[in-house]
Subunit: 163 residues, 2 copies
């Protein structure tokens, strides 16, 4: 591997590590765990899984990797607070969407070259990117990986708590 490839592969590996930990939470969440809140009055496990799934879904167009697969999650899990809208899908469907979207994202990440990682994401204009080349795909990957870790920390608390 070249130096550039080693640098990029560290970021992709970090993404895979965090998504792998979330996979464990998602697969271990039965119906009762899905309804648990991460804190009294806080977000349900189901909401956080839906939220992360919707955020991942939006990464497909944001990184120029394809169209969205499940925009039907946004109203309940992205654009509004928890418990203000009916859950749009069953637990089984939500878990399947999570796996489906990551099954597109992660292999696509593994196929991008360092030069492609340094291209702008699709939400930045050419002019703005020329002024600030840090608004590239890699910065989105790192930002979303840390977003995942933030909610992973909360899901771990819910997974540990009794009943």
């Amino acid at each position: 591997m070249t130096s550039e490839e080693l640098l990029v592969s560290a970021a992709v590996k970090s993404w895979k590590t965090v998504v792998g930990r979330l996979d464990g939470i998602v697969s271990g969440a039965d119906e009762s765990k899905m309804e648990k809140q991460v804190a009294p009055g806080g977000n349900r496990v189901r909401y956080l899984i839906g939220h992360l799934t919707a955020v991942h879904d939006r990464m497909l167009p944001l990184l120029g990797l394809g169209d969205r697969l499940h925009p039907e999650l946004d109203e309940a899990y992205l654009d509004n607070p928890d418990r203000t809208h009916p859950d749009p899908v069953t637990s089984a469907d939500l878990k399947a969407f999570w796996a489906e979207i990551n099954g597109k994202l992660t292999p696509a990440f593994e196929g991008l070259t360092p030069a492609e990682w340094l291209k702008p994401h699709t939400a930045v204009s050419e002019e703005d990117f020329a002024k600030d080349p840090s608004r590239n795909r890699l910065s989105v990957l790192l930002s979303r990986t840390n977003h995942n870790s933030t909610h992973l920390g909360q899901l771990v608390i819910a997974a540990k708590s009794q009943a």
Copy 2:
């Protein structure tokens, strides 16, 4: 900036973003917040701040950037669960240590070249690094940044909750 420098700067920027959010939590934690638990029976805010401070302190030798500054935090905040040992320092000292250690780490990170980021961290042998060049300094930076984010997610819950 070269491509390699752009790739590395994205990782350092991600570190700075997460540490900046933690700075807000640390500076906003008065004595009563310090004693709050992130979940019933869970870690106190003080323990998590001590834990992250000790982990950052260990990054100095791990990344070959200098000797440890505050190993006195390890027993209470790194090697043992919360509330099994007396708090070794006051809140004011803990907050000062957090700022002091990050004040060494972050400028050092900003000064490392891409080639230096790809060198092994000090806990891996030459033989093992030859077999797996992903065990480099950059992988430590990404891993610790996500570790920070995981606990940030928990600290945010404690910061939000009343009383």
